[in-house]
Symmetry: C3
Subunit: 341 residues, 3 copies
């Protein structure tokens, strides 16, 4: 079907962009090279030298840009050729540059026309900016599945009761009816669990592991694949403000058809200075995402094959409401970008 | 071209089906999940949850069926949903179940309409039921070649003289003219070798390794890919009943286009209590099949490419008579199932 | 697009053809088997037994030819069947044989009609015949890129300044304007570098590593993919005859679409008896070709995709003159072979 272009895509965590090492990453079907200049500025260019199409990501970062590793043409952050060892710098020696933003610990790129850039449409992930390093977990996984199957996974968190029974399950989500809200730029889903069995990961943090809790699980999805997830718990009947709370981002950036960049992070309001806890919590999340979600969704993709899930006539239920709505919103955005399609 | 559906396919050895572990296996292009319920019954279902198409084989076996590992829907052996944690059990929540039989140490599935099941068409492999464990060798190989190339291999055993010279060769088959018989449900080929050099594997069992023998090699092929092979020897002129004899099954169950499940076994009437001999004989057969047949036939498949061998205009000889007839019978069966094709 | 057939292709170094071991190698889309008979003669046959299309390269070399490893048919060097254990030798039991030449340490095959063979079109690589073993380096690499991208690489040696800066670079080629000459059977490119910084590999051989040099770099390309490269240096102003000189072959034999056999060698007029130097020089070249050229050109191929580079509209410069001319010559040859195309 193709991908949205007129969105800000989260492409990489800033710490994936190492000094003096260009990063090759294909975003929504476009092979891009990301690099940080000595002055700190991050650039994103088409990862193809206009001369002979060698990937610029195999080249070297210079004072002023990047030099192709094959025949030495040099380009600045705007994609303009600024050095040609073999002749004049002509107008054909240029490569497309994409608007880039560095915000909330992520590198973002805009794949639409630069004139249309609306930077404010980067979702607000400022919870990342406010965290301490010891309360911050983040990671990257490459998934062999369509970005919408990944979105489905987070929009229907009842899966946690079956796919992650020992860490994020317990049954409370499956027993709770969610509410949905279509916002101007996003879709919001909320599970309010009352006097429920707490999630396994929360149990060691409660007065006793058996303490029943009120819990909240809120997901906000944006068409660029960003999903913000707040999950917390408090002993039943106590005020939410006194509870334990987590803010998470699950970002599903399309790579190519059938492949997705999965960027995730988590912050919290408890044990925020505890590096050991942070490490253990990070391992628990990584285990759930890499060893439980990833193989299940990749196996699902194999069964779905080369079409959208809905074309296969799945037996939809109430728990699929949000993912059906998200596809509708995404489809409207896509058709707006491709009027003829 | 496609596959026959109205046949019983041998899908797995019963000991491949471990308690509490669903087995995913694609048969004739259909991804199936096999599992054994606590009461011992074996089921075969489409390996796709109707909800979101996750493979049921990634789920868990329950008291009454299998539960999807993604969102927890539970199905019984008839494919009926018997549990939905998220809402009502509706008629759309069902998955196709296939008739299953457990016979002769194998799990069989019928891929045609259940109403047409004719269980009697499972070939008689009761020689497997009569053997002792120490006179029984069996195994499974996945072959990257079409099932008909695998059938060719056994219908023309003269290959043993060249591909397996040190174990199953010796030249006797190549020197002997086979006879053919078309039976109602099968094709029968027989080599009667008179006063010949014995097969290498038989030599240690004879009065002397050089003892010349009368030998018999009989293959019966069924359109579902089952091939029964009897091979034996007796010192020249003595009655066949006093000889050494082996009964073997070579089963070529199509997986997908260009891939075949190869299930093989062997029993015998000598050294039937000798576990060491059994082990050594098993290794010899495995070596021949895995290191000689498999790479040759997979390489042949690469040369043949994406069509049937006969479309390549091979130079057929007398030794190809049986495989040409088998293709004709198979093709008649296929066209009977697909009148329009 | 396809490949030229009416050329002599260099298929393998003679020492790749081990006694009693057939060599399978696909040349210009044709799977061939090469083997050396006990009398020393080398043959090239279609690597497909006419009987059932098993690759002959999985068979055994005999006194008089090669025997198929599947059912034992034997063929001589002309592809005629000379043994059939299963029946008469008929005219359909034959396989195409290709004219073969063994010259300059290489096995050559002619893929056009045998009647058209013009052996004189094997380029003169007699510098190989005149070398000592300790002044001879040769090797083979399989490249996942089109043969014309490999030809581009050598026809534009300015890449050495950027891709091989520490061994074959230094900037002299990029600073020098080449001259071009179209010869009847080839294309000739020459860089005459005057009073230049020597190539890094030459520096230890000069009076001092900083000694400025006159250098010559001459490439001759033939449409069969053979490229002869002479590179040498002499302290500035001294006669070329007194300098150090190297003769090299870079041979780009097409395998299949998008894959190329890269056969390379180098000889020289200095330290010709120094086995240690020879070994170190061989490692330096192998490193440049395998760890610098190969990954760059394979990455370029991924960006170019399934068409010829020129269809992608690359921004050509003066340094691309030779590769554009070579494509034109190659295209003329190709259209002459395929008048309808």
């Amino acid at each position: 079907m193709g991908f949205l272009k007129r969105v800000w895509y989260a492409c990489a965590w800033t710490d994936e962009l190492i000094d003096n090492a260009p990063l090759a990453r294909t975003i929504a079907g476009m092979p891009l090279v990301f690099f940080r200049a000595p002055d700190g500025r991050v650039s994103a260019l088409d990862d193809k030298c206009p001369h002979r199409l060698a990937p610029l990501s195999r080249g070297r970062i210079t004072e002023k840009g990047i030099r192709c590793g094959y025949h030495g043409l040099e380009f600045n952050h705007m994609g303009q050729c600024i050095g040609n060892p073999h002749g004049p710098v002509t107008s054909s020696l240029r490569v497309t540059a994409y608007p880039v933003a560095e915000r909330h610990g992520l590198i973002w790129a805009w794949l639409g026309s630069p004139a249309e850039t609306i930077e404010s449409t980067i979702p607000d992930l400022s919870f990342i900016d406010r965290t301490t390093p010891t309360a911050f977990i983040h990671g990257y996984l490459q998934i062999k599945a369509d970005h919408l199957l990944m979105v489905d996974n987070i929009l229907d968190l009842s899966h946690a009761d079956y796919l992650h029974p020992d860490s994020l399950g317990g049954g409370s989500i499956s027993r709770t009816k969610p509410t949905f809200e279509e916002r101007p730029e996003s879709l919001f889903v909320s599970w309010t669990c009352v006097d429920e069995v707490p999630l396994p990961v929360f149990r060691p943090l409660l007065p006793t592991p058996e303490t029943r809790c009120d819990m909240w699980t809120e997901v906000e999805w944006f068409p660029n694949g960003v999903m913000i997830l707040q999950v917390g718990a408090v002993p039943s009947g106590q005020p939410r403000q006194s509870g334990i709370d987590t803010w998470n981002a699950h970002i599903m950036t399309p790579e190519i058809k059938g492949r997705t960049h999965y960027l995730y992070c988590s912050t919290r309001n408890f044990l925020t200075e505890d590096a050991d806890y942070n490490r253990a919590f990070g391992v628990a999340l990584r285990t759930a995402f890499e060893l439980e979600d990833k193989p299940m969704i990749e196996a699902q993709q194999e069964r779905v094959g080369d079409v959208d899930l809905l074309e296969r006539g799945p037996a939809l239920m109430g728990i699929d409401t949000a993912s059906v709505r998200a596809r509708r919103v995404w489809g409207q955005r896509f058709r707006a970008e491709h009027p003829a399609a």
